[in-house]
Symmetry: C2
Subunit: 456 residues, 2 copies
């Protein structure tokens, strides 16, 4: 008998983990709802034609592919030695597991455009799968929580995403810093210091700043064909830290004056910050012109969020994309969105001990099972409790009291209720507070009353 | 450009469908919680060694298999003509998508036994995947909602599952009939009328009673080697309909007197019905000795639920299994569980028009966007509403009023809030009830008050 296991990079969630995860999802969902985002879901499997080529070569390689059903060998020539592994995979597999929520969302929009009302605000909280090498904090199955608005160019949407982020992380009690940039600023920088078509090289290099530092980024720029002169010219861009957002905007305005795109980027950023300044937001919002977030589809705002009190990569990111649905044939749909990573948030909450205590005690009371008529009497009390909305249970077997109490202790159940012949004849139940050890004989309605006063 | 699509048998869920589906999941979850079941989740992917051989040959065929990552051809001999398609699949794929929640649950129990407190009551609501031929009401990705208690032989657990079923379907407003049988009764029948080792043939044939009728079932029994005499002897078993449960139990007691297993089955059934009779249950609970539910792993109670007012297959089923974790090396863990099919419940609620109206209007109010200072004034009102927990939005662009009102109408938003210069100088907002057309100029707190009185 082989010891059962699960695929590497995947996880089971026990009740304790589930309650914590549900707390994360519920908190995020509550904020999304309040901001009038509506839920959608897409299938775990997409046609590979939908997914391939959307995430770069690396992404294609990391897609989980599903073997065709039935006789998957039919029509496949296995003798052809010149056939690449990728080609063979494409003959064996038509479907793959979704890699993120953004591409399926774009596909969804195009497919359902006639049923939807635009601007369309949707949220989506589902697992995604990547055949990445598993390591600490990186899984092959993990959840993304995305909010996007599509079909509106208004920069109010960007500001709302900042507001939502602020509300979510305040609800969690996590101090964050939210960085913001604009792809048009990066384009302007490329135009002015190197050339417009080098913006991708610039972004790819800048994206590594956090990991490898400024010097190595400059080296990478040179390696990617950006001139020494351009690299030197950009030096001031690395020295904006410590300035206020207003000062940064003013400096950028000067530096990028000769680029129309660059000026547009600065203006957009100014508008977003203007909106945000009127929104009573606690979150620290920082312009960071080196923020690029490799994803090539961003065309306007770029966001990134980090926790202040924990050393960890970004826990959330997003931006505006003007062309996303274009890949599926629908032009002119601008969208802006943000994605919160449930796993990273979990780790931060865990490390900072920020999970609220009350989410861990979902069961309020356990009735001890004394069997026979006592059991029936307990069942009547149990029903009254549940009818009042109190999550409660009875130990299913009338085994030794000690075993039943151990069970209640192990599960962290705060109240144990006992009723034997004495209680039964008096129409009461003995309620034991498991923390204080205190016992009281009470009517069932009084027990319900105690719970209603403090519904945990 | 290919029109985007999704794999056959899978579905997207638009907000309207999501709200209905979430209503189903929330209703079921609330009942599970109240009965102290705790949530777990398992990965979408399991090792194929966990899944293969657990669902019969048909099941193995219907598993979605995931192509190994990286160079999946390495070490695979494609030239061997004698290799079966199944053998080749097993060389190309180590992982598969879960087929149900029961086998992963059994695997979970064995793997995490040291972290869990037994008896363990868990619920699990996750999608499963089957490469079945898609047809009306049958999908390749669908959700199961399972509740199981493992590690307790008490028949109180069976009664509780009846109680939970009663509460769930009363909450939905669906009239159901719940059928109950006991595998030991079927074993007793086999022992007495044919032979103990024919119980599987008996079950497989009986399982088709609903679809093919009594005569065809008898023909199938004969075909499967059950003697003519046995088939005739069993005739009275088909004629118990219309009798009360008590009468059925008495008859069975007589008929199965010579079988210890059969007597045990009758006694178990009697105990369950006894508990249930004390639980104020509205659901009609019917003994049906022909209920077999093909699944070979049931060893005690068998349940099946059908909606009364809709012609549709079963919407839920379950039973007791003594040996489930045995396949993963953990003996002596008896469990009993039930599985509710979200898709079937959706169809019943839809057909009977039972979805509550309020779940369809998740957004309470939309502010019209007049731009400039009016926009900022609207944003202040919006923030006040959201802070009070009212889901609300502002149209993101200051486009023509007509377009904004069309948007609110299309989304079914019940209240539209307008504020121009007049309102702004007076510190009020004009609230328009979209159903009655009525308009009122109100302070933002009064608008919040209206919502708090009727929080929809």
């Amino acid at each position: 008998m082989v010891k059962p296991s699960i695929p590497k990079g995947t996880r089971d969630f026990t009740p304790v983990e589930m309650m914590r995860r549900n707390y994360i999802f519920d908190t995020i969902r509550t904020v999304f709802h309040r901001h009038a985002y509506l839920p959608i879901e897409t299938p775990a499997m997409e046609n590979l034609s939908t997914l391939m080529g959307k995430y770069g070569e690396e992404g294609d390689r990391l897609l989980f592919k599903i073997l065709n059903s039935g006789d998957f060998t039919k029509g496949v020539d296995f003798q052809d030695d010149t056939k690449s592994v990728n080609k063979l995979a494409s003959e064996l597999c038509e479907k793959g597991l979704r890699y993120d929520l953004t591409v399926p969302f774009a596909r969804f929009i195009v497919q359902h455009q006639s049923e939807l009302t635009f601007p369309f605000k949707r949220y989506q909280m589902q697992p995604v799968w990547r055949a990445d090498r598993p390591q600490k904090g990186r899984y092959r199955e993990f959840y993304q929580c995305d909010a996007d608005i599509i079909g509106s160019n208004s920069l109010l949407n960007e500001a709302e995403l900042v507001e939502i982020t602020d509300e979510i992380f305040r609800a969690f009690g996590i101090n964050i810093v939210m960085k913001i940039n604009n792809r048009k600023i990066l384009s302007g920088i490329a135009e002015i210091f190197c050339s417009a078509d080098q913006v991708t090289d610039l972004c790819v290099a800048l994206d590594k700043l956090d990991k490898i530092g400024r010097e190595a980024v400059c080296a990478e720029m040179l390696e990617r064909g950006i001139s020494q002169e351009a690299v030197c010219g950009m030096a001031p861009l690395f020295e904006l830290e410590g300035l206020s957002n207003g000062e940064v905007l003013d400096k950028l305005e000067q530096m990028l004056a000769a680029s129309e795109t660059g000026r547009k980027g600065v203006e957009e950023l100014r508008t977003v910050l203007d909106y945000v300044s009127k929104m009573q937001i606690a979150t620290e919002l920082q312009i960071d012109v080196t923020l690029a977030r490799g994803l090539n589809y961003y065309t306007g705002a770029i966001f990134e969020i980090k926790a202040k009190d924990v050393a960890m990569g970004s826990i959330s990111g997003g931006g505006r994309y003007d062309n996303l649905t274009g890949i599926f044939g629908l032009k002119g749909m601008s969208g802006v969105g943000i994605s919160y990573g449930a796993e990273r948030i979990y780790d931060v909450l865990n490390e900072l001990n920020l999970f609220p205590q009350h989410i861990m005690t979902p069961i309020t009371a356990m009735f001890v099972n004394f069997g026979g008529d006592d059991e029936l009497y307990a069942l009547a009390g149990l029903k009254a409790l549940r009818d009042a909305g109190v999550p409660a249970e009875i130990y299913p077997d009338s085994v030794k009291m000690g075993k039943q109490m151990n069970y209640a202790n192990a599960k962290g159940i705060p109240y144990v209720i006992m009723a034997g012949e004495n209680e039964r004849t008096q129409g009461v139940y003995t309620l034991k507070n498991m923390q204080t050890g205190e016992q009281q004989a009470l009517q069932i309605d009084d027990i319900i009353g105690i719970w209603k006063k403090n519904p945990r």
